[in-house]
Symmetry: C2
Subunit: 367 residues, 2 copies
């Protein structure tokens, strides 16, 4: 799923250069990281077993950053309709090849530190999916994060699953039934979730058979299913383009979590400690990079922090300026060739306000 706009990484992310195309957590774009992360399970990109769903405006850049990708592996969304329609559209394409295929659904713009645990967790999820379950990866929380959705655990399916250690790196728990999905909590509630040990972060990674997804769509989202049927009928015919644009845009925006997972039968989660981040906004760089002894995280070469604590610097590339911080605390300094953002680390989610201000004054070249 590579349809996001990711303006929260402004000025690095832009309408024409969304977050998944940026190299934020490593020297490779996040979408390339996502493809590489799945390769141990489903093979390299040239195997053709990956589909990327994205907007038409990002087609060329995706082909550029993933040179092994063929045009046929790109599924173009005519418009953004959240994850349920996005996943369903990809599933239509997969079903043409194999209606009983197991589908691994992943955001294109997240980061995972522990590759081996991710691979093991996916393999465990695939087991569940083969038996007909809709399986998600649930990340063992290490802080009362209010920026993520949570998954409440019910009983374990297999015996022997151990509770993951809170500071663990690379552990995979037993497949467990899901009691419910919950929205981003308040900080008090998040603290209770953390202490209870019964809640995991919703990673946005799902594994299921295409046929099971279709069953659930048909039952839970019948209007969507009808539109999808029209699209399916047109596939492989000259009518596809028009059917897609008409039917896809007619679908209501709804997430897979709430449109499908929440109300589905046989929903399971594989608990895992992944060093996972949704790379949600600039402050997330503190999770992705080691800090210096003063708590500063510096991405890019040659930055200087003098009497400066707990700052996040992002200025990368051969033509990016070196940043010198002197006597300042808790700032984000994020550079792009056209614009420079300075805000407080704790307020880096407010960057949307800058984007809104630019829109309001008609500064389109910075959007």
């Amino acid at each position: 799923m590579a349809g996001g706009s990711g303006l929260r990484f402004w000025p690095a992310s832009r309408a024409h250069r969304p977050k998944q195309l940026l190299s934020i957590s490593s020297d490779r774009p996040l979408v390339v990281e996502a493809l590489e992360r799945l390769a141990p399970v489903i093979g390299p990109v040239r195997s053709g077993r990956q589909l990327i769903v994205a907007g038409a405006q990002h087609r060329d850049q995706l082909l550029e950053v993933c040179p092994e990708l063929t045009e046929g592996q790109l599924v173009i969304e005519p418009c953004p309709r959240n994850t349920a329609p996005c996943v369903a559209l990809a599933a239509l394409h997969i079903a043409q090849r194999d209606p009983e295929a197991v589908m691994i659904i992943s955001p294109a713009d997240h980061h995972v530190a522990y590759q081996e645990a991710f691979t093991q967790a996916i393999l465990r999820a695939v087991e569940g999916a083969r038996r007909g379950a809709l399986v998600t990866l649930g990340v063992s929380p290490n802080r009362p994060e209010t920026g993520y959705g949570y998954i409440e655990l019910a009983g374990e399916i297999e015996g022997g699953g151990e509770r993951l250690s809170p500071a663990g790196g690379g552990e995979v728990g037993a497949r467990t039934r899901v009691a419910r999905f919950v929205e981003k909590p308040s900080s008090e509630v998040a603290q209770r979730y953390l202490e209870s040990g019964r809640y995991l972060w919703n990673s946005g990674v799902f594994v299921m058979k295409v046929s099971r997804l279709f069953e659930e769509l048909q039952r839970q989202l019948p209007a969507h299913w009808e539109a999808l049927e029209r699209i399916r009928e047109s596939m492989g015919t000259p009518a596809y383009g028009r059917a897609l644009s008409e039917q896809f845009s007619s679908m209501r925006s709804i997430s897979l979590d709430y449109g499908v997972m929440e109300g589905a039968s046989e929903v399971e989660v594989v608990p895992v400690s992944l060093g996972w981040s949704d790379v949600g906004h600039w402050a997330a760089l503190r999770e992705l990079y080691p800090a210096d002894s003063q708590g500063n995280v510096c991405v890019g070469d040659g930055h200087i922090c003098l009497d400066a604590q707990d700052n996040v610097i992002y200025s990368v590339g051969s033509r990016a300026p070196q940043v010198a911080l002197l006597g300042v605390q808790g700032l984000v300094v994020a550079h792009s060739p056209e614009a420079l953002l300075i805000c407080k680390v704790d307020e880096s989610q407010r960057v949307r306000e800058v984007v809104e201000a630019l829109k309001a004054r008609g500064d389109k070249h910075l959007l």
Copy 2:
């Protein structure tokens, strides 16, 4: 006097691009502003009546930013020796044309808002100089500044001089005898100076006859005078270059204020309110530019301050990024293509620490 290095404007100012060559207070380099400021009294640059004293490493850039300047108007200092040797060297060159000439001495890197008052003040100072006085311009203080030297007033020379109004812009007082020059004061002392009404800021602008300067040098700085005599003997001969480099570097570093003015006879000051600034460090931009309603001073196009107060932004040029400040207070954000400085406005004098750190780690390309 264009010999300064001005590293306090790092990263805009650099060893190869000192402050006087930068466009800080307007769209023209400070040295060009200084030449234009004097033109109403001494004529345009092509009149040949201006001499610029500078280091050899800045010769080409000076000729570039002042295209009317001829090579003959550039007096090269072999090394920096503070202002007394600098002024004396220029005086030797002037004396060759006219030993009784009145010389106007000005820093190349200051800013003056009120041109007309400056012209009137210089003309009034020239009157005093013609009568044999060593005259300085003293700026009427509007705040208890601790970053400037002060001049204490003695009695007025002509009647009718009025005390300048503290917030005045463009007033010129009567020529007044100087009681003494004082170094940068503590803030308590600066407050007393301000309240007394008997102290002016030392502007670094001096007006005197070349012959009177020579008298004072001979009397107060005899070793310097001896070296200057050697240089004078060599002028116009092939021996000049060697004599200059040997004799000039043999002189002790000393300022004109303390080496000559402090101990001279007939020292006068013309009080003036000029909208003057020595453009000493980044915080000085607050004196040079109007602030927005939130107290932010923005130099360069298109910057955005959202819920941000009392910041100073300097990012100029067609390829400089637009700066977006969100929720931050009292910061300096200064951009150059190679480096970016962020510090507190109140601590902008600490930028030397960054320069020292760069030296220490051998980062020569940023010096």
